[in-house]
């Protein structure tokens, strides 16, 4: 689509723009459920997504983005990112599927305490009918009364990653269900998402290797120290912490390559290459901290995951679309 960037930068919206916008919307929608429970995205759904995106970012930003781009490909990449953000914002209106999955996984491991009846999580032995209709605010307040193990990105950073121990998920769920009685899965997931600060996270993961003893209270050491974590789980979590560019150059940095190698692979200049290299070093250190020891095994797994992901991406038929995810 030659000339797309230049035409849009001039404020000229034509068939080229619409064609590219539809194409990036189609690609972005492939990984998402169709609206309103339909089996697939219709042409109308794609057009609605496209129009919603332009309306959300505003035409002024579209023109400015085209002005800033150095090529059609770069501008197209910006459009693709804008569409993906629209889809992510739509998903924020309900608890992320990932949060519900994590809650389900954790509670299912303890069938002596938790059971699902008619789409409601219930404490075993609780015969109350589902009747909670007071919203999640009170439930979240109750949830905060439960002490849980704090997981940090690193010792120097206050921000916590979207992760929790499964025993903590169960402890909080138990207290919430004691108060509310049976709760729809989505309400329990919303409550736990608020409690674990993952309301807008695309993922919510657990770290511990096996279901631990249910009656085993966390030791005081465990409250301040990191427990041993499965290398694979840590590597899978770190995979999602990497940007697309970081995945491309992970092998270079992990095997001792420096800024120059990173810059050559990303075709970028020094400041960016240096920043990406520093970030990868910090993330690999974090991976080692999470998995314990020197992190070699977890790093190997991470390299393997990245390599397989790259192979899969290359082998997919994406119509030559550089924005396919």
């Amino acid at each position: 689509m030659d000339g797309l960037q230049a035409a849009t930068a001039a404020g000229n919206i034509d068939e080229r723009f619409v064609e590219v916008l539809r194409r990036v919307a189609t690609v972005a929608s492939r990984a998402r459920a169709a609206p309103n429970g339909a089996p697939r995205w219709s042409a109308e759904d794609i057009d609605d997504l496209a129009l919603e995106t332009i309306g959300r970012v505003t035409p002024a930003k579209v023109v400015l983005a085209a002005q800033r781009a150095s090529s059609d490909i770069e501008f197209r990449g910006w459009l693709a990112a804008a569409v993906r953000t629209t889809l992510n914002l739509r998903a924020r209106e309900t608890p992320s599927g990932q949060v519900m999955r994590a809650v389900d996984d954790a509670l299912r491991e303890d069938p002596l305490r938790f059971v699902v009846i008619d789409g409601h999580w219930t404490l075993v032995g609780d015969e109350r009918p589902p009747s909670w209709c007071a919203g999640t605010e009170q439930l979240v307040r109750e949830a905060w009364k439960v002490e849980t193990t704090l997981i940090r990105h690193s010792a120097a950073v206050e921000k916590t990653p979207p992760m929790a121990h499964r025993r903590d998920i169960r402890a909080v769920a138990e207290v919430v269900l004691l108060l509310a009685g049976p709760l729809p899965k989505v309400v329990l997931a919303e409550t736990l998402a608020a409690r674990f600060n993952v309301m807008f996270a695309a993922r919510f993961d657990y770290l511990d290797r096996e279901p631990d003893g249910q009656n085993e209270p966390p030791s005081s050491d465990a409250l301040t120290a990191y427990e041993e974590v499965d290398d694979r789980l840590a590597a899978e979590w770190m995979l999602n912490e990497l940007t697309a560019e970081e995945r491309r150059v992970l092998a270079i940095v992990a095997t001792g390559g420096g800024v120059r190698g990173v810059g050559a692979e990303l075709a970028c200049a020094n400041e960016k290459a240096a920043t990406v290299t520093k970030r990868l070093h910090a993330k690999l250190r974090r991976l080692a901290e999470l998995s314990g020891g020197d992190g070699e095994a977890a790093t190997e797994i991470l390299l393997d995951l990245v390599g397989r992901e790259n192979t899969l991406r290359h082998s997919l038929d994406n119509d030559g679309d550089p924005d396919a995810t």
Binding site: A10, I13, L51, I54, A60, V63, Q67, R68, C268
Partner: protein
């Protein structure tokens, strides 16, 4: 062809039009700057000074850092101006003006440059902050525009470029070999214009060694040629005659202007802009 409903709906939205002109840069303007494969948005802090202009970069999307200002322009654009990253870029990298900032917005930008504006976003103090990548890209883009150059480096600006040869041929001989006038050959030997690639090949045969390619142009000509006013037509010439190489097109134009000026006999300082406008009118 039946109408496209999506295109119709999109066209009904309010699409602002960028100015896309090339005035002499003044303070508080939003420009597109580009050179070779680098492009970015910049806000001018002052009028141009010689070959340089002081700017700060701008982005389109949130977030910024603790010195980023969301500016407004008179035509409805809202760039995020990263006021903590100022630089003096080469004037000739300004491509076209997009819009003028409102006076309030520009005042806010100047406050942010001076570190006096209240921050809208947190500072970037951790490399793991994804905004560090945005900032790194902006720094690299600005650096590319600072270092951009279309003049060739001249190793020894005092000696003629072809002094690298063991003997300097006579202008008449050079003129005969290159099929040009003795006056043009003399200018070539004096470094007042650059040999073309074809000429360089023939001169290599004559001299037994490649000639130095640098040429020395009038400083005032260089400054005037750098003005954004001439960029569109130079860009067109680059496309037509130099396989898109804008630097080569500029050097060729400078050589032409030096030849043209040498033929004029009026005393006093040359009005290079007037000469350029005349030469580029067609």
């Amino acid at each position: 062809m039946p109408p496209d409903p999506l295109l119709d709906r999109l066209r009904r939205l309010p699409w602002p039009e960028p100015a896309r002109d090339q005035p002499e840069p003044e303070a508080g303007q939003l420009w597109r700057a580009a050179w070779q494969h680098v492009a970015c948005l910049v806000v001018t802090l002052e009028p141009a000074a010689g070959r340089k202009v002081a700017v700060v970069p701008a982005t389109v999307d949130d977030p910024g850092d603790d010195r980023t200002v969301v500016a407004e322009t008179s035509t409805g654009f809202s760039p995020l101006v990263w006021a903590g990253l100022s630089a003096e870029i080469k004037l000739f990298t300004l491509e076209h003006r997009i819009a003028d900032l409102t006076s309030d917005s520009f005042a806010a930008v100047l406050d942010a440059v001076a570190g006096k504006a209240p921050p809208r976003w947190a500072p970037i103090d951790d490399v793991l902050d994804d905004r560090a990548l945005i900032r790194a890209e902006l720094i690299d883009e600005l650096q590319a525009l600072v270092e951009a150059e279309w003049l060739r480096p001249v190793a020894d600006p005092i000696s003629p470029p072809i002094a690298s040869a063991s003997t300097v041929p006579a202008p008449s001989e050079v003129a005969r070999i290159l099929g040009t006038t003795p006056g043009d050959a003399r200018r070539l030997l004096q470094g007042l214009r650059e040999p073309t690639s074809a000429e360089a090949e023939r001169l290599t045969e004559l001299l037994g060694a490649p000639p130095s390619m640098g040429a020395t142009f009038d400083e005032d000509l260089i400054v005037d040629m750098d003005s954004p006013e001439f960029r569109p037509v130079i860009f067109h010439r680059a496309d037509q005659d130099h396989a898109g190489d804008e630097a080569a097109a500029r050097r060729a134009l400078a050589g032409e202007m030096m030849s043209m000026a040498a033929r004029q006999r009026e005393p006093g300082r040359r009005n290079w802009k007037a000469l350029l406008r005349d030469a580029l009118r067609d």
